[in-house]
């Protein structure tokens, strides 16, 4: 029997507000444990949570960017369970009436556009963390993360493969980064993902028993875990067994999922201390106006406006900063495709090598385009330009200054080149002989010698032309 994989994701994203969701404590990374805490986020008697308005705005912005309906009236509830990293014995979350519903994120599924539904998006507070010291019989509690604002984005079970889940996560991340509500760094925990996965016989309309998978440290891990679970559950079903509803943990090293705990029912009750969140139309419009062009729309526009291939457009628009940098460049340079080639190949690879971000670039789009213009004018060769580019990246100096300082100006003086060519021909009579006997390859060697002598600065078109003239005489 063939099985269809059904995947839904629950994604937690940390909002990048300056302060916590219900008190004035900083959300910044703390050096000392338990240094960003107060009686409120420690859940001490008689303290009352205070709604951080920015959190509502950030969350609403996210909801709108994810095409959700924003509730005019939403409320907070207490999700109760005991764990030492949870100060109050309950987490303040939105259960009964969440902030946003019925949204979607678009992905590409085998060349076709597919909408992955978002069932619910709500606000909640993060828990602290436990530090298990090697060899000790105790755990330490650090509550600096307790009360950091999160949004939880619960998708519909619309994904059918690890690949689709991977795409969904990537697109979700890009959107949230575009609207600047989170840095979405899964490795640093500012984006977390749990998988709900089940299998059903192909053609069936009913869902199978789902398994929840936690502890996924990267998008790649999500993809791998789905693929592992697909296989595990298929094997169970094919051997006549049935899947048990449970929570499993992804073991990255071994590449498998491991039983963590059985099904859990959380008790919820309304949070009496927080007023409902009332989202007026005016407020929503105001927030909506702050949403920039989103990656999907930008990609379409780049294809149309700049004639970029879809591949280029999706790479350039995958990052807001890169796409902004690109658009600045296009203002200063006539050929958008040349710009995208340079950015995709040279810029992305150097960023990759150095681990630096585009926001930290030392040179401006204008300087970068000046360099492209120098190639066009023949001042430098394309090959030299790559060195100039790396120097710009390292020092932030203008391309003119670099070319000047390092004497990289292309030699385009006809007489000078001709005298070098003649010198090379004299020094390599064998190659000249070969060429004249029909070994056209020998020309390459001669050009190479000129380049060697000029340290690559000889204008390649000119030197080719000179050789042709001299040799074919």
């Amino acid at each position: 029997m063939n099985y269809e994989t059904i995947v839904g994701l629950e994604v937690h994203v940390e909002l990048s507000t300056k302060t916590k969701i219900f008190c004035g404590c900083s959300t910044e990374f703390s050096k000392e444990p338990n240094s960003h805490c107060c009686p409120i986020c420690l859940g001490m008697p008689g303290t009352i949570p205070l709604m951080n308005k920015s959190v509502v705005e950030y969350a609403t912005k996210a909801g709108l960017a994810l095409n959700c309906q924003i509730a005019e009236f939403s409320r907070f509830d207490r999700k109760k369970y005991f764990y030492p990293d949870l100060p109050k014995g309950y987490q303040i979350s939105q259960y009964y009436i969440p902030l946003a519903r019925n949204g979607y994120v678009e992905i590409d599924s085998n060349g076709k556009k597919k909408r992955i539904g978002i069932r619910i998006m709500h606000m909640e507070e993060d828990a602290g963390k436990l530090v298990h010291e090697e060899g000790s019989s105790y755990s330490l509690v650090d509550l600096d993360r307790a009360g950091v604002p999160l949004i939880e984005i619960v998708s519909e079970p619309d994904m059918r493969s690890g690949e689709e889940a991977w795409q969904y996560l990537n697109n979700l991340k890009t959107i949230l980064q575009y609207i600047e509500v989170s840095d979405c760094k899964i490795e640093e925990g500012s984006m977390r993902c749990d998988i709900n996965i089940s299998l059903r016989p192909e053609g069936s309309n009913e869902f199978g028993t789902k398994v929840e998978v936690k502890n996924l440290g990267s998008f790649r891990a999500v993809k791998r875990a789905i693929e592992y679970e697909e296989k595990r559950q298929r094997e169970i079903l094919e051997s006549g067994g049935s899947v048990v509803q449970e929570t499993r943990r992804w073991d990255e090293e071994r590449g498998i999922t491991i039983f963590m705990r059985g099904k859990m029912d959380n008790r919820y009750s309304p949070e009496p201390n927080l007023a409902p969140v009332i989202m007026s139309k005016d407020w929503k419009d105001e927030i909506s106006a702050r949403i920039p062009e989103l990656p999907g729309a930008k990609k379409e526009r780049f294809i149309k406006e700049y004639g970029l291939p879809e591949y280029d457009a999706s790479i350039i628009t995958a990052s807001k900063v890169l796409s902004n940098f690109y658009e600045e460049c296009v203002k200063h340079y006539h050929d958008p495709k040349v710009v995208s080639n340079w950015l995709m190949v040279e810029l992305l690879s150097i960023l990759n090598e150095t681990g630096q971000g585009i926001e930290d670039l030392k040179f401006t789009p204008k300087q970068f385009c000046d360099m492209l213009a120098m190639i066009d004018k023949g001042t430098i060769s394309g090959k030299i330009a790559k060195d100039v580019f790396r120097e710009m990246f390292a020092t932030g100096k203008s391309p003119e200054a670099i070319v000047e300082e390092k004497g990289l100006v292309q030699i385009s003086d006809e007489a000078e080149l001709e005298s070098i060519a003649k010198r090379v021909m004299e020094a390599n009579p064998k190659s000249v002989e070969d060429y004249k006997n029909g070994k056209k390859k020998a020309l390459g060697f001669l050009v190479g010698q000129v380049m060697k002598e000029t340290k690559g600065k000889a204008n390649p078109q000119m030197i080719n032309a000179i050789f042709s003239r001299l040799l074919d005489q």
Binding site: P39, L42, G43, M44, P45, G46, T47, I48, P49, L50, M51, R78, K80, F82, Y83, P84, P87, K88, G89, Y90, V141, R267, Y268, S269, P272, N273, L274, A275
Partner: protein, 481 residues
């Protein structure tokens, strides 16, 4: 001889301003009185003697008595957090809990140079109406040591001159009921009038903080000091705070008072019924109009309140887990065991009962069967009041259906003694209890309920009543034990 411990706030303030007495003398007099009498009354869980004396001499040195409360000691119910001063909620769970912060009301009193004399007893986490569920001890009614003092001992402290005034909390009636049982004045403000930040309450949608004082004027003075919007309590209101003391000078005219018949039914003691009808007569003599009216849904109030309060309390009790503060079991097998034992040992019977009941109520079945209905009824009760207030300026009822009951007499957590006070908490309205008579040698309380945020009106009516009667002046006849 001037007995300093018997002073009201306004009298003490006058004497302090004129430098006829010092704050230190006043504090010492109260501490002496406590030393002599508190062994019998058992009003205080913790005394703050040293610090209070230190503060009083500091205040004397500065000599600035412009503030009405300056240099005057206050007793504080032990569920209101006081910085660096143990706050127990009368529970083993918080036996050694010292808050690193002040409740907003405490901060406000401190800004006015008040000084905290000590912390008074209550039922564990305020669950009860007699202090009998306190982890420490049961406090006594100063009028009769075999009787309960109500849900807070701070009224007993004020009545027995162990404090000039007190700050108390009211979720189902503790402020008013204790004041009624002990023959003093207790005001429960409108929900939102006074910040409840720092009140370790048990039902967030009903908890309020209010003063217990020797007379109405004092009540107005304290309310002036503690009212107002607080950024740390989102449920606090920005409704303008009038000068309550000043408003007592207003001459009342065309006042219409409603007397809801549901509060004068068979459950109410005959003497109390008569006292209320007498009070109505007093008002009529003053030119007010008094008429019988009805609040048809208040008969459900006790149950509705019990259901909602238990649900909210079970949720509120979650924060006491023995991990960050509070009682932690000494021996436990694992994490789950740590929670079970810490909570099992730290909480008393009544708290456990309500936590379990509340947990059921918040669960699917209990929610559908009871909680949802309770919220609906709460709305109906609120509407009853709204309707009544279209016609009347104030409603009067007994504060309690009987005088203070005997220690050990209450059998049920669902206490019929709360029948007159809980509807007011459900509706979030302000109400005051003032002395209006005696039965069995024990004081009777008259409850005056007002429109939301009309504390000024309630105080005016109460003040007018007080000016025309002398119940509040009657002294306790101490039997020499």
């Amino acid at each position: 001889m001037l007995e300093l411990d018997k002073l009201t706030i306004h009298k003490a303030h006058e004497l302090l301003s004129k430098k006829e007495i010092t704050s230190e003398e006043l504090t010492k007099a109260l501490l002496k009185r406590i030393e002599e009498m508190d062994g019998k009354i058992k009003a205080y869980v913790t005394l703050n003697s040293e610090e209070a004396l230190e503060r009083s001499s500091e205040i004397d040195k500065k000599g600035d008595f412009t503030e009405d409360l300056s240099g005057i000691p206050v007793a504080v119910k032990d569920n209101i957090c006081t910085k660096d001063l143990r706050t127990t909620c009368a529970s083993k769970m918080l036996e050694n809990f010292v808050p690193p912060y002040d409740a907003t009301v405490i901060k406000k009193l401190k800004e006015k140079n008040a000084l905290i004399l000590g912390k008074t007893n209550l039922d564990e986490f305020d669950m009860g109406s007699s202090t009998e569920s306190s982890y420490f001890f049961t406090s006594k009614n100063p009028w009769n040591l075999e009787r309960v003092p109500g849900g807070s001992s701070s009224a007993a402290a004020v009545a027995a001159d162990l404090a000039i005034y007190s700050l108390d909390s009211d979720t189902g009636g503790a402020v008013r009921q204790s004041a009624a049982y002990c023959g003093v004045v207790g005001l429960k403000p409108t929900y939102g009038r006074v910040s409840r930040f720092g009140l370790a309450g048990n039902a967030g949608s009903m908890d309020t903080i209010g003063p217990i004082t020797k007379d109405v004027k004092d009540c107005a003075i304290v309310l002036n000091a503690i009212s107002g919007m607080d950024l740390f309590d989102p449920s606090s209101s920005d409704t303008i705070v009038p000068d309550y003391l000043e408003s007592l000078k207003t001459n009342l005219q065309n006042v219409k008072i409603g007397i809801p018949k549901e509060f004068l039914g068979d459950a109410v003691n005959k003497d109390i019924k008569n006292a209320i009808l007498n009070a109505a007569k007093t008002f009529e003599d003053m030119g007010f109009i008094c008429e019988e009216t009805s609040l048809p849904n208040v008969e459900y109030a006790l149950w509705v309140h019990y259901v909602i309060a238990s649900a909210e309390a079970s949720s509120e009790m979650c924060q006491y887990d023995g991990v960050r503060f509070g009682h932690r079991a000494q021996h436990y097998e694992n994490l789950k065991d740590l929670y079970k034992k810490s909570r099992g040992e730290g909480f008393g019977l009544e708290v456990k009962k309500r936590t379990i009941l509340g947990t059921y109520l918040l669960d699917l079945e209990g929610n559908d069967k009871y909680l949802v209905k309770a919220y609906k009824l709460r709305t109906l009760i609120k509407q009853d009041f709204e309707k009544a207030f279209e016609k009347y300026d104030f409603l009067i009822t007994p504060t309690t259906p009987t005088v203070a009951f005997k220690i050990g007499e209450a059998k049920d957590s669902l206490n019929v003694n709360d029948m007159c006070t809980v509807p007011v908490n459900l509706a979030g309205l302000p109400a005051i209890s003032i002395p209006c008579g005696f039965a069995e040698g024990l004081p009777i309380g008259l409850q005056i309920i007002g429109k939301a945020f009309d504390e000024a009106g309630i105080l005016q009516v109460a003040y007018a009543f007080e000016q025309n009667t002398d119940y509040h002046k009657k002294q306790i006849a101490w039997k020499e034990a």
